[in-house]
């Protein structure tokens, strides 16, 4: 049985797809067979972030409708043979997704995979509620910014009431906070909510903090999940996140300002 992880946020543009790409790649690199599904029907983008946009033949909706088999639709990643991508449909609308259809695909995937990462669309409409419906774990991606924190709290309410686990009275979904686009400099200046502030408000287990980083844009420019850029702060932060998710104890990094040495202070680092 696979563990189903939903990457969600409510608000758009906070880094759900970046996170889904990085975490699924990270799990696969650790040797776990991992599938990552794009639930953003009509506005697919995971394929682009993963760099496999030219290899899309069939999509998630084709599989749900029985127009293609899972094996035909799954795209094997070229960098890691444990990772498979199931792209969203670009032409259909989100009404094509049904509880039964999604359930059947996840059940079939569960037989072959260790982890299934569901990349949720923004909002609280069908794509988003279905992405979280079958989840075992939820990674709530949040920016240190008022509207994102509010929307995350709203998503927590939905996770706790509208998921399969909630409806069937099972053990609730495990919820994790992933704080992204964090800037220790701005926090120090009192311009940005700190990790502690966000945790005080949402009271969630902190999975990690991803610093605001140039590496995220350069990675998406070239279709490489940022976790593969292991020299970058964001890449390292995502590697830590994956290790923490898998149960390792890893100290949080990128939360405090680094003390700059004299050389860096003079020449900029």
């Amino acid at each position: 049985m696979a563990r189903i992880i939903v990457v969600t946020s409510g608000k758009g543009g906070v880094g759900k797809t970046t996170t889904s790409a990085a975490i699924s790649m990270g799990l696969a690199l650790k040797g776990h067979r991992t599938a990552v599904i794009d639930f953003d029907v009509g506005l697919r983008n995971l394929d682009l972030i993963m760099g496999c946009e030219r290899r899309v033949v069939y999509d998630f909706v084709n599989v749900i409708n029985g127009e293609a088999t899972l094996n035909q639709a799954l795209i094997k990643d070229k960098r890691c043979d444990k990772l498979f991508i199931l792209p969203a449909s670009q032409t259909r609308d989100k009404e094509s997704l049904t509880v039964e259809g999604v359930g059947k695909v996840l059940e079939d995937l569960s037989k072959d995979f260790d982890y299934i990462v569901c990349d949720s669309p923004a909002g609280i409409e069908r794509g988003a509620t279905l992405a979280m419906y079958y989840a075992d774990d939820a990674i709530v991606v949040t920016n240190p910014e008022v509207s994102s924190v509010r929307d995350s709290d709203r998503m927590l309410g939905i996770l706790a009431s509208k998921s399969r686990r909630a409806e069937q009275g099972e053990e609730p979904i495990k919820e994790y906070l992933l704080l992204t686009r964090y800037s220790p400099q701005r926090v120090k200046l009192g311009e940005m909510l700190s990790v502690e502030d966000v945790q005080d408000i949402l009271s969630l287990h902190l999975l990690g903090v991803i610093p605001e980083s140039k590496a995220v844009l350069t990675a998406s420019n070239s279709g490489v999940p940022v976790i593969l850029d292991d020299k970058s702060d964001a890449g390292q932060a995502f590697s830590d996140v994956v290790r923490r998710y898998l149960g390792e104890h890893v100290t949080h990094r990128f939360i405090d300002l680094e003390k700059k040495g004299l050389f860096n202070r003079l020449f900029g680092g």
Binding site: D153, V187, G190, E191, L193, D197, I201, L202
Partner: protein, 92 residues
Amino acid sequence: MGLLDYFRSTRQPTASIAKERLQILVAHERSERNKPDYLPMLQKELLEVIRKYVNVDQDAISVTMEQDDNREILELNIILPDDSQRKKPKRS
């Protein structure tokens, strides 16, 4: 803001304003979320009954549900109008 004000006021960092605003908002939204979904209907029907006897405004009634560790409190708050505006019960 004048130069003097700039030096005089110790301005509150915007992050702490954000935190305060969020704490209030999130607490409010969470309490709304935990309300049973029959509350609006209950409020509407109670209002109908009350209006048979007293001429109260549509928005003069509020029903809130609060929860602490071991009990739930259903609070019903009705603002009655001044004596002069009260509907006299019809004699039958």
